[in-house]
């Protein structure tokens, strides 16, 4: 009992975090169709992009940006739906009545989705750099790292958004509501410095802009330069804020 009481103050208990990460991955393993889509869809879209653009110069410019955006979008939906299910099916309530910490739970999710993001980014990158012949002047390692951070950003925003969804339908609807405005304003459609001041300001306030900016820096050859580091810092900041927001929405007691 003394051991149990001392657990309360411990910020992260890795056994619970690992158990949660393993559980989330096991859930995915039993759903091979979802895995196949998570892994294959970005690669297929990249192939489509290659033929739509039909220009190596344009592809070299857009491919890294898309590699940054895919994991963000996919992880947002997956995390929003998974967490909403956890709330709706009562498993979250059960965990909250057990010695499960909110941070342990959220970090477990982050690890599991981070692993999936690595595979997803690895596949789309391999297809892009080999088959599609994308030239990347910058560092591949930096690109993978930023892409995985983008995935974690999407995951943490999805976790947070799910608190406001009462049904899985609503959780899925948050994708266009949260993600599409960011996609329009992040600098892929129109360069950020060509936007009106109001839109530019809005773009500056949205996390995906920094994800795309980092990818643009990497695609022009800057790897560990100042702008990339600043972007990474902002992405990490948004991720941490969304995770804290998510933790606040995980209530032990509900109405």
């Amino acid at each position: 009992m003394i051991a149990a009481a001392s657990n309360v103050a411990a910020p992260v208990r890795w056994a619970l975090t690992w158990a949660t990460a393993r559980r989330v991955l096991e859930q995915l393993r039993h759903d091979p169709r979802t895995i196949a889509m998570m892994i294959a869809v970005p690669a297929v879209l990249m192939i489509l992009l290659r033929y739509v653009l039909d220009s190596p110069v344009a592809l070299n410019r857009f491919a890294p940006e898309f590699i940054g955006v895919f994991p963000f979008v996919v992880m947002f939906i997956v995390a929003a739906v998974t967490t909403q299910r956890e709330r709706a099916r009562g498993t979250l309530e059960r965990l909250m009545a057990m010695p499960m910490g909110k941070l342990d739970l959220l970090l477990g999710y982050a690890i599991a989705f981070g692993v999936v993001a690595c595979v997803q980014v690895g596949v789309v990158l391999a297809v892009s750099l080999t088959w599609l012949g994308v030239q990347l002047p910058g560092s591949v390692v930096t690109l993978v790292m930023v892409a995985v951070l983008d995935a974690l950003l999407g995951m943490s925003l999805g976790l947070f958004a799910s608190a406001f969804a009462r049904t899985e339908f609503q959780a899925v609807q948050f994708m266009p509501a949260f993600v599409l405005p960011q996609a329009l304003l992040c600098g892929i459609v129109v360069a950020r410095d060509q936007m009106t001041p109001a839109l530019r300001w809005l773009s500056d306030a949205l996390p995906l802009s920094y994800a795309v900016d980092a990818m643009q820096q990497i695609s022009t050859g800057a790897s560990w330069a100042g702008p990339v580091n600043r972007d990474i810092g902002v992405i990490l900041g948004f991720t941490a804020a969304a995770l804290i927001g998510g933790a606040l929405t995980l209530r032990r007691r509900t109405r």
């Binding site: 009481a5 099916r89 032990r252 007691r253």
Partner: protein
Amino acid sequence: MASPAVTPPGLPLSAVPAAAASALVVRRGGRVILDGLTFTIASGRVTGLLGPSGCGKTTLMRALVGVQMITAGQVELLGLPAGDPRLRHRVGYATQDQAVYTDLTLAENLRYFGAVLGLARARRADAFARIVAELDLGGLENRLVGTFSGGQLARAGLAVALLGQPELLVLDEPTVGLDPVLRRDLWAMFHRLAAAGTSLVVSSHVMDEAARCDDLLFMREGRFLAAATPQEMLARTSTADLESAFLSLASRSEPAQL
């Protein structure tokens, strides 16, 4: 300063009630769900919470395990305030909707919840084998819970509640819709657990289950009609069965209609 509610070490468990509440009120959206409940639930017994659907049974059970915001009053379990982190190891809770991962196998569910409860790896295998045997879930370990029948699903939910060998089990309608043979076996198990010292609070809206409990709380519209043993309920109302006893108590509680 030691709070008087905390059990001094060495005091026998039976001296502390499994649960107690005073003037417990829960309001939700302007509606009174629990209307000033005061009660004591004895330890080492099977206490039945009986009442029609919507009378507040689930809300009361949620208040007991500390996941329900309460408007007023106090709830204590095993001498600690409901929701105290120290209770999370000592109280098992099974909700009506089972609350297991349907996209995992039974073994994966048990392993995960076992890890959450902090069961040591060595103890885990024993605990799983014991529970699978106790709930007659043998052979289902590697099947996805989503493919289970209603009865199997109900037992999977119970299995998780039993994992940590809790001192108090709060079971929300655990036998609803089950095969009569299975229902009988589960009630036998509840009494075996109680004989071994576990306290159980079991809710049901089916009156024929009331007779299987050691103690009864009859509930209607957020209030208690009576708290007594089944024999006392019958004696108090001069009725032959508990359903009639409930009806008799319900009509007495509505003086306006008399």
